[in-house]
Symmetry: C2
């Protein structure tokens, strides 16, 4: 019997961990690395092989999933000392799953391809629970050869793969626009809930009506519940949108486009982060608007 | 056989006309008034009774639907010269369907109730097509007696009535928050499409992916199609959001709440209106962002 393919996962945060677990479930051999020793222990307990460096993890891997936090870290784990390129065989497929500026994605992909590697620009969407069940959505672009080689691994981690062309960069562009909308919609949900509280509307009633009305959004449905429950345990943190809306406004500026709503939303997430809420659920941006408006939302009693 | 109840509809714009048609379909006797003679002729052709004034229309009516554009017009057709209060019998139900500031609704309702009338604060949602088929959504608050008396007429025009308590004002409050979200989401859709066009993403591909992703909204799904088609025939016009977001920011200011996103969106709709786009579809706010960004969206060729 042929030995199972080896897949490396670099960065075992909430999304990367979900990918590792999903790959193990699909009987791949999984190597992984992360800066946190307890996570590496968990990987070993789950049947994977913990590694100290990306270089070690990428040795003999058919594909390398990059799930670190930002483009600087991605560059480091790919091209830096102890990076995956030190050991990866030519023809290895690199899945760039980190949400990065499209220009950063293109730059990294160029360097990987120059070294003989295959690349899929593959930012993901769906959150931790879907990552754990191998059901994330991937906004993917890359060569036919890369997709052919990585197909079974991609199938193991995702329920839906949007194929957005054959060049790295397009996946990141579409993800960037998704984050523009998502970030603005979270801030709008926070603004709506705050104004409702300030003008004396019952938040649950408001939610029940607007969830099925023209004012609804995926984020209103989802984060609205967090605000009503006063539950700011992080599913996705404030600091993620500081980063992602930062990418939006920087890329817009680079291209001469104007993004007034994304800029205002970014300011609110930055303000939340500066107030110590960076690791709370992104819906905690509501606390900033509530304080400015002099009203207390659920879970804020005694904080205002 | 008992003669059918008489219902008055004041203001036969796209929503009021839909209500009149739906009431006629349900075999009510319908009186109507509007400033446009051609619309009154259409009402007569459809089997209704055209009237020159609200006073004339309200005589012997069991209920009076108010579908004028704003609170100033509502005050005029209710309490001004030739207004409905001149002839309405005590106990007539006034359905306030105009989107108004909650404070304006409460003030009007107080004066109507002081004159012995029943009042339902009943702003509507759903657009012209649903109005024509008698399937709008109503965000309604008012007394049990008012609902009991108007129930069959309300059933004739709507598919869904949210009962939001027994006091006029709550319906308008919930509608106001809906408009905050809807207006911000339209502007966000415009911003997303503009940035996508500027950074070279195919708009249809973007739409197909994001419609089913976490960045989606009711407005993205709906107005996104208008922008991709370059179709700015007004389903709901730019000037409606100049008014409705104006209500949001004014009520927020009155209550000491902060609404940074609604304020920015209002600025964009105002700018679109000042550029002569006030009667185009509200998605035309995208043209403003596209011009600022130096990119041409579908339908804008030669306009930038």
């Amino acid at each position: 019997m042929q030995e199972a393919e080896k897949i490396a996962v670099i960065g075992l945060g909430s999304m990367g961990w979900g990918a590792a677990v999903s790959l193990l479930r699909a009987s791949f051999r999984v190597t992984g690395c992360d800066v946190r020793p307890d996570v590496l222990q968990r990987l070993e307990d789950a049947g994977g092989t913990p590694c100290r460096t990306a270089s070690e993890a990428a040795k003999d891997a058919a594909a390398v999933f990059i799930y670190v936090v930002n483009s600087a870290q991605a560059e480091e784990v790919l091209l830096g000392q102890g990076g995956a390129l030190e050991t990866a065989d030519p023809g290895t497929v690199f899945m760039l799953c980190t949400t990065m500026a499209p220009s950063a994605t293109v730059s990294l992909a160029d360097r990987l391809e120059a070294a003989g590697m295959l690349v899929i620009d593959a930012p993901v969407s769906g959150g931790h629970l879907k990552a754990m069940s191998g059901e994330i959505t991937v906004m993917a672009s890359g060569s036919e050869a890369a997709f052919a080689k990585a197909q079974t691994a991609l199938d193991a981690v995702s329920a839906k793969v949007f194929r957005l062309g054959d060049k790295p960069g397009t996946g990141s562009q579409v993800k960037m626009i998704n984050q523009l909308l998502a970030g603005v919609h979270i801030a709008a949900t926070a603004e709506a809930m705050t104004l409702a509280a300030k003008t004396g509307i019952d938040l649950q009633t408001l939610y029940d009506v607007l969830r099925v009305s023209a004012g609804s959004s995926w984020m209103f449905e989802n984060r609205g519940e967090h605000i009503i429950a006063g539950d700011y345990a992080p599913r996705s943190a404030v600091d993620i949108f500081v980063k992602d809306l930062g990418i939006v406004t920087a890329e817009a500026a680079r291209n001469g486009a104007t993004t007034p709503l994304a800029s205002i939303a970014l300011d609110l997430f930055k303000e939340a982060s500066a107030a110590g809420l960076g690791r709370e659920d992104d819906a905690a941006v509501a606390k900033i608007l509530a304080k400015k408006s002099g009203v207390s939302l659920p879970g804020m009693e005694g904080q205002a």
